[in-house]
C-alpha cells in the first residue's frame, strides 16, 4: 500500500508541476490543484499509514498507538480550505487579467514570434 500511495503522490505532483510550468492560466490553476492534492497526501502519510481514525472510542484519555496521527490531519484540513480560497482568488485574478490584457497567457501578453 505504501508503494501505491507513493506512486500516486508522485504522479499527482509530476502532473501538477508540468502544468504550472505551462503558459496558459487555466493550465496553471489545474496544476496548482493537482499539486495541492499531492502535498496534502504527502503531509498525511508523514503520520504513517494507520487504520484507526483519530476519533476516541471512549470518553477518556486516548492511547496514541491505537489512532492515526491527528496532527497532520488537522494541518491538512486547514490546508484544504486555504487552497480552496487561493484557487478562488487565482481564478478571479486570472479572469481579471484576461479581461485587462486580452490574453490568457501567464505573462499577460502573447510571446513574440
Amino acid at each position: 500500500m505504501e508503494l501505491t500511495v507513493a506512486l500516486g503522490i508522485g504522479t499527482l505532483a509530476g502532473a501538477g508541476v508540468w502544468l504550472i510550468l505551462r503558459p496558459r492560466t487555466f493550465q496553471v490553476i489545474i496544476g496548482l490543484s493537482l499539486l495541492s492534492y499531492a502535498v496534502n497526501l504527502f503531509i498525511i502519510v508523514m503520520g504513517r499509514l494507520q487504520t484507526g481514525a483519530p476519533v476516541l472510542a471512549s470518553r477518556a484519555a486516548g492511547d496514541p498507538s491505537q489512532y492515526a496521527d491527528p496532527l497532520p490531519q488537522a494541518l491538512v484540513l486547514t490546508a484544504i480550505v486555504i487552497s480552496f480560497a487561493t484557487t478562488a482568488l487565482f481564478l478571479v485574478v486570472l479572469l481579471a487579467s484576461r479581461g485587462f490584457t486580452g490574453t490568457d497567457h501567464v505573462d499577460g501578453r502573447e510571446p513574440e514570434r
Binding site: 500516486g8 504522479t11 502544468l19
Partner: protein, 969 residues
C-alpha cells in the same frame, strides 16, 4: 537645557504665522542669545581643563547613555555656533525678502543650531552620528529653501547625497570603533587610543570615519557639493557652509585625533586630502566669477588648510587647526555677509559686472576689505597669526619624505593664490570705474544688516593685534581639552622676529599680487579655470548617480530578473528540488525497509484511476478545459477516497465538499476564457516549444519522482514521537471532545484557526472587490453560443417565451434541488453539532451549507433564487469572525488567556448528548464565516453572467488591440 532650547524655539517658529517676520527674528535672536549666555557661563568650570557632563539613561541594555559633555573644544565650537548664529539671525532679518516664508527659515535655522550643539556636545559616538545626520538633513532643507529654483533643488540634493552618505560611513566607523573599544562613550574612546591603533580593524575604522569627516568638510575628492550649496540664501551660506556645519568634519578630526591620530595612515590620508583641497580650492577660487562661488572655493581651500594642519599629526598642528577654525569662522562669515549685502543692494553677484562700489557703500567696502585681508593673511589681522602657525608647522619635519620637504614651497605657492583671490575680490568689486547697468542702484544697507559683519571684522582686528589678551586663554582651554596636560610651547604674538614663516608670508603676499595682475586680463574674459575646466565634479557626480541607480539597476534587472512567470516557477521548483536533494545526498536515503501494511488490490485500482485522471488532466488542460476539469475532479475524488483509507474521515468529508465547490467555481470561470485554436504555433517556434516542453517534462518527472521516493522512504520508517501524542492523550480530558482533529482545530490550536478563517474572509472580500470592477475580454462579452441557439429556438415557436428551453431542461433537477435544500441544511447543522465528538465541524458544515445555496442557484437561476432568498454573505462573515473572536475574548472575563475553552454536555432530545463546550461557539463562528466566504465568492462570480457588460467602444477587432482599449477605461 542648552540643547532643547533651539529645538523648542524651532517648533514655536514653525508654528508662527508666515507674516510674523519681526516676531520670528526676535524669537530666534533671543534663543541664540540665551544659548550664547548659557554657553559662556560654563566657561569658568572648563577653564582649568574641567569637563561638564550630563548623563541620562537612553538604551541601558546596549550600554548607551544620552551624554552631554562640554570641554574646552566643545565650548569653542558651541560659542561659534551660538554667537555666529545670533549674528546671522540679525542679518537674515534684513536680508530675507518679505515674500519668503520666514517661519520655515527660522525654524530650520534654529533646529540646525540645536543639531550643531548636539554634535559638539555629544558624549557618545552614536549620539554624535545622530546629530550629524540631522545637520545634513537640515542643511538639505536650508539649501533647498528657495525650492522654486531648480539650482537650489539640485544643490540641496547633491549636498544631502554627499553628506549623508558620509554620515552613513561615519556611523559604520563609529560602530567599528565601539566594537574595538567596547563602549561608545567618548571619554573611553579617547582614552583607548593605543588599543585602537594596535587593532586589526584600525584602518577600516579610520577610513570610515574619514569618509564621514571629509565629505562633511567638503575635502577633495568630495569638495564639489559645496559650491552648489551656494544656491542657499546667503545667511545660510554664511552660517552653515562657512562658519559651522562644514567645520564639523574638522571638529571630528580634531576630536578623534587623540584616538585615531599618530600613525602614518593618518598623516598620509588626512594630510594629502587637506593639501590637495587647499591647493585646488585656492586655484579654482581665483577663476570664479560669482562672488559666492569665489567664497565657496576659498572656504574649501581654508578647510583644506585646517585638515592639512590636523593631518600633519602633531600637537602643534592641532593647536593651529583650532585657532584657524575660529579665525576662519569670523572673517569668512563677515565676507559672506558682505557678499550678501552687495547682492542685496546691487542685484548681482557677478564680479565682472561689479566695480567701483567703494563710492556707494564705503562702510561695507572697508569691512569687506579688512575681512579679505585677514583671509589673505595680512599682518595685524587674525588670519595672519594662524597662517604664521601654519607655515611654521609645514617647515617642521614629519616623515622626511619628498612631499614633506617640498611642503613649505607648495603651501607658499598655494597661499599666493589665496592672496590673489582676496585681492581680486576687493579690487574688482570696490575699485575701478563706477558700475554700469546694475539691476539696482547700490547704496549702504540698514545699520542692523551691517552690524553683524562689523562686529566680526572688529573681532578679526582685535584678535590680530592683541592675540594673547583676547583668544589666548580660550585657545589654551580648547587645546588642553584635546591634548591633555602636555601642551607644547606655542606663542600668540604679532611679531616673532624675522623668521622663515614671515618670509613665506611676504613671498605669498607679493607673489599673490603678481599672480593677480598677470591673470587679470584673462579673468575678465575667461569662462573658467584653465586645465581643470573640463573636470566637472558635478557632472561626475551625476554620471555616477545615473550609472549606479539607473543603468546598473536596469542591467541587473535585465540580466538577472524576469517578469515572466514561467522561468520564475521553473527556478522555484528547481530550487525546491535541490533543497530536498542536498540533505538526502549528504545523509543518504534508506529504501531497504519493509512496508508496514500489505498490498491492497482495491486501493491500487483506485489509484490507477487517480493516476490516469492526473495524467489526463495534465494532457487536456490546454485544449479541452472542461475535460480537464472533470479529470481534476476525478483525481480529487481519488484523494478523497484515500483519505478514508488512511483513516482521516474529517479530511475525506472536507475534501468532498471542497471538491464540489471548486468544480462549480471553475465551471463558472470557464465562461470567460478565450477559445483555443489548435496548431496556432508554427514555423520556427516549433523547435523552441518542443525544447521547452522537454525541459519542463524533465523538471516535472524529477519533482514527481523525487516526492514519490521521499514519501515512500518516510512511510517505511517507524513513526517518531511527536507532539501528536499529547493531543491524543488530552483531547478528551482537556478539550472535552473525542474527535481529536476537531479538538486540535478549535481548542488546542484555536488561535491558528482564527488566523486561518481571517485569511479566508480576506480572500473572499478580495474576490468580491476584484469582481465588482471586472471587465471581461471583448470576445467573451456576447451571450454564449448555446444560449443564443436556445433563444432562437424559443423565439421561433409562438407559444414559447425566451428561456423556456433551459427551464424545461432543468425542471426535474430544480424540483429535486428544492426538495433537497432542507435536507442539506439539516445535514450541515448536524455536522456542525457533532463535530466535536464525531467527524464533522465548522469547516465541513460551512461548506455543506454553502453547497445547499449554490445548488439552488444552479437549478433555478440567479434571479429566481434572489427573489425568494436573501443571503447576506458579508454579514455571515462578519458575524462569524466576531463570534470566534468574542468566544476567545470571553475567556478574559474569567481571567484566562485568550481562547481558553470551557466545556460540559447537554442532552438534547432526538440528537442525543451534544458537547456544550465554548469551543462549539467558536466552531459556530468558523461555520458562519466559511458559509459567508464561500457563498460570497461563488455568487460574485455567478453574477458576472447576469450583469450586462459594456462593450468597449469602438468594438475591438482583435486580441492585439484589446489591451489598449480596456486599459483606457
Amino acid at each position: 537645557m542648552l540643547l532643547v532650547l533651539p529645538f523648542f524655539g524651532s517648533v514655536i517658529a514653525g508654528l508662527m504665522r508666515s507674516n510674523a517676520r519681526n516676531a520670528e527674528a526676535w524669537l530666534a535672536a533671543f534663543v541664540s542669545l540665551l544659548g550664547l549666555v548659557l554657553v559662556s557661563t560654563t566657561y569658568p568650570s572648563l577653564a582649568n581643563g574641567g569637563v561638564v557632563k550630563v548623563t541620562l539613561a537612553w538604551v541601558p541594555e546596549l550600554g548607551l547613555d544620552f551624554t552631554l559633555r562640554m570641554d574646552g573644544l566643545a565650548w569653542v565650537f558651541a560659542m561659534l555656533v551660538t554667537g555666529i548664529g545670533l549674528l546671522v539671525v540679525v542679518y537674515a532679518r534684513y536680508y530675507m525678502s518679505p515674500s519668503d516664508p520666514l517661519p520655515r527659515f527660522f525654524s530650520f535655522l534654529l533646529a540646525f543650531m540645536g543639531a550643531m550643539l548636539g554634535i559638539v556636545l555629544s558624549g557618545n559616538l552614536i549620539q554624535l552620528v545622530f546629530f550629524w545626520e540631522l545637520t545634513s538633513l537640515l542643511s538639505f532643507l536650508l539649501i533647498g529653501y528657495w525650492h522654486q529654483s531648480a539650482q537650489a533643488r539640485e544643490g540641496a540634493r547633491m549636498a544631502l547625497t554627499m553628506t549623508s552618505g558620509g554620515g552613513l560611513c561615519l556611523f559604520a566607523g563609529a560602530l567599528v570603533l565601539g566594537h574595538i573599544v567596547g563602549s561608545y562613550d567618548l571619554d573611553r574612546v579617547l582614552a583607548s587610543g593605543a588599543k585602537i591603533r594596535a587593532h586589526s580593524l584600525y584602518v577600516p575604522s579610520l577610513l570610515l570615519v574619514l569618509l564621514g569627516a571629509l565629505t562633511k568638510s567638503a575635502q577633495f575628492p568630495f569638495h564639489f557639493w559645496l559650491p552648489h550649496a551656494m544656491a542657499a540664501p546667503t545667511p545660510v551660506s554664511a552660517y552653515l557652509h562657512s562658519a559651522t556645519m562644514v567645520k564639523t568634519g574638522v571638529f571630528l578630526l580634531v576630536r578623534l585625533w587623540p584616538a585615531l591620530g599618530g600613525t602614518n595612515e593618518w598623516l598620509w590620508l588626512v594630510g594629502s586630502a587637506g593639501l590637495i583641497t587647499f591647493i585646488l580650492g585656492a586655484f579654482l577660487a581665483v577663476f570664479q566669477q560669482d562672488l559666492k562661488g569665489l567664497l565657496a572655493y576659498s572656504t574649501i581651500s581654508h578647510l583644506g588648510l585646517i585638515t592639512l594642519l590636523t593631518g600633519l599629526d602633531t600637537p602643534f598642528g592641532q593647536i593651529a587647526a583650532i585657532f584657524h577654525v575660529m579665525n576662519h569662522a569670523t572673517f569668512k562669515a563677515s565676507l559672506f555677509m558682505a557678499a550678501g549685502i552687495i547682492d542685496h543692494e546691487s542685484g548681482t553677484r557677478d564680479i565682472r559686472r561689479l566695480s567701483g562700489l567703494w563710492r556707494f557703500m564705503p562702510i561695507t567696502a572697508s569691512l569687506a576689505m579688512v575681512a579679505a585681508a585677514a583671509m589673505a593673511g595680512v599682518p595685524l589681522l587674525n588670519g595672519f597669526l594662524s597662517k604664521e602657525m601654519f607655515f611654521a608647522e609645514t617647515i617642521e619635519t614629519h616623515d622626511n619624505s619628498l612631499v614633506d620637504r617640498a611642503l613649505p614651497y607648495i603651501v607658499t605657492l598655494a597661499s599666493m593664490f589665496t592672496v590673489a583671490y582676496s585681492l581680486r575680490f576687493i579690487r574688482e568689486v570696490f575699485f575701478g570705474p563706477a558700475p554700469r547697468d546694475l539691476p539696482r542702484a547700490p547704496h549702504e544697507p540698514p545699520f542692523l544688516m551691517r552690524f553683524p559683519a562689523e562686529l566680526l571684522v572688529f573681532a578679526c582686528l582685535v584678535v590680530g593685534i592683541f592675540p594673547s589678551l583676547t583668544v589666548g586663554p580660550v585657545l589654551a582651554t580648547a587645546v588642553r581639552a584635546v591634548l591633555g596636560p602636555s601642551v607644547p610651547e606655542y606663542s600668540l604674538r604679532m611679531w616673532h622676529g624675522f623668521t622663515p614663516e614671515l618670509l613665506m608670508s611676504i613671498v605669498a603676499l607679493a607673489g599673490g599680487a603678481a599672480v593677480y595682475f598677470t591673470l587679470r586680463r584673462y579673468l575678465l574674459t575667461s569662462k573658467g579655470p584653465p586645465l581643470l575646466r573640463h573636470l566637472n565634479g558635478k557632472r561626475i557626480f551625476e554620471w555616477t548617480l545615473v550609472t549606479l541607480s539607473w543603468r546598473l539597476a536596469r542591467w541587473l534587472e535585465g540580466h538577472l530578473g524576469t517578469r515572466r512567470l514561467q522561468p520564475q516557477l521553473q527556478l522555484l521548483v528547481a530550487l525546491a528540488f535541490i533543497a530536498a536533494l542536498v540533505p538526502l545526498y549528504r545523509q543518504g536515503i534508506a529504501l531497504a525497509g519493509s512496508p508496514l501494511t500489505d498490498f491492497d488490490l482495491a486501493f491500487a485500482l483506485v489509484w490507477a484511476v487517480g493516476i490516469a485522471c492526473a495524467l489526463g488532466a495534465a494532457y487536456m488542460a490546454k485544449f479541452h478545459r472542461l475535460a480537464a476539469l472533470i479529470l481534476l475532479g476525478g483525481a480529487g475524488l481519488v484523494t478523497c477516497v484515500s483519505f478514508v483509507w488512511l483513516a482521516a474521515p474529517d479530511l475525506a468529508l472536507t475534501q468532498l465538499m471542497v471538491e464540489t465547490v471548486t468544480t462549480v467555481l471553475l465551471l463558472l470561470g470557464l465562461r470567460w476564457l478565450p477559445k483555443r485554436i489548435e496548431g496556432v504555433d508554427g514555423g520556427s517556434r516549433v523547435g523552441a516549444i518542443r525544447w521547452y516542453r522537454a525541459r519542463d517534462f524533465i523538471i516535472a518527472v524529477a519533482a514527481g519522482g523525487g516526492l514519490a521516493v521521499l514519501a515512500y522512504a518516510a512511510m517505511i520508517l517507524p513513526a517518531p514521537h511527536t507532539i501528536s501524542r499529547y493531543f491524543v492523550e488530552n483531547a478528551y480530558t482537556r478539550g472535552g471532545g473525542t474527535n481529536i482533529v476537531n479538538v486540535i482545530l478549535v481548542d488546542f490550536r484555536g488561535f491558528d484557526t482564527l488566523g486561518e478563517i481571517t485569511v479566508v474572509a480576506v480572500v473572499a472580500l478580495t474576490v468580491y472587490a476584484l469582481l465588482r470592477r471586472f471587465r471581461p475580454a471583448p470576445d467573451s462579452i456576447p451571450v454564449p453560443e448555446q444560449q443564443r441557439a436556445q433563444n432562437v429556438a424559443d423565439e421561433a415557436h409562438p407559444d414559447r417565451t425566451k428561456g423556456d428551453t433551459i427551464k424545461d431542461a432543468m425542471a426535474t433537477p430544480a424540483l429535486i434541488m428544492a426538495l433537497l435544500f432542507p435536507v442539506i441544511v439539516t445535514a450541515a447543522v448536524f455536522l456542525l453539532l457533532r463535530g466535536h465528538d464525531q467527524p464533522g465541524g465548522g469547516f465541513i458544515a460551512g461548506i455543506t451549507l454553502a453547497i445547499a445555496f449554490i445548488l439552488q442557484y444552479m437549478a433555478h437561476g440567479t434571479e429566481w433564487v434572489e427573489a425568494r432568498l436573501r443571503i447576506l454573505p458579508i454579514r455571515w462573515m462578519g458575524f462569524g469572525l466576531i463570534l470566534a473572536c468574542g468566544t476567545g475574548a470571553a475567556a478574559w472575563l474569567f481571567s484566562r488567556p485568550f481562547l481558553t475553552s470551557y466545556f460540559s454536555y447537554a442532552d438534547v432530545p432526538l440528537v442525543g448528548r451534544i458537547p456544550l463546550a465554548s469551543a462549539l461557539l467558536f466552531d459556530l463562528g468558523v461555520f458562519a464565516l466559511v458559509v459567508g466566504a464561500t457563498v460570497l465568492m461563488l455568487i460574485a462570480l455567478a453574477h458576472q453572467s447576469v450583469r450586462s457588460h459594456r462593450l468597449p467602444n469602438p468594438p475591438a477587432t482583435g486580441a492585439r488591440s484589446a489591451p489598449a482599449l480596456t486599459k483606457g477605461e
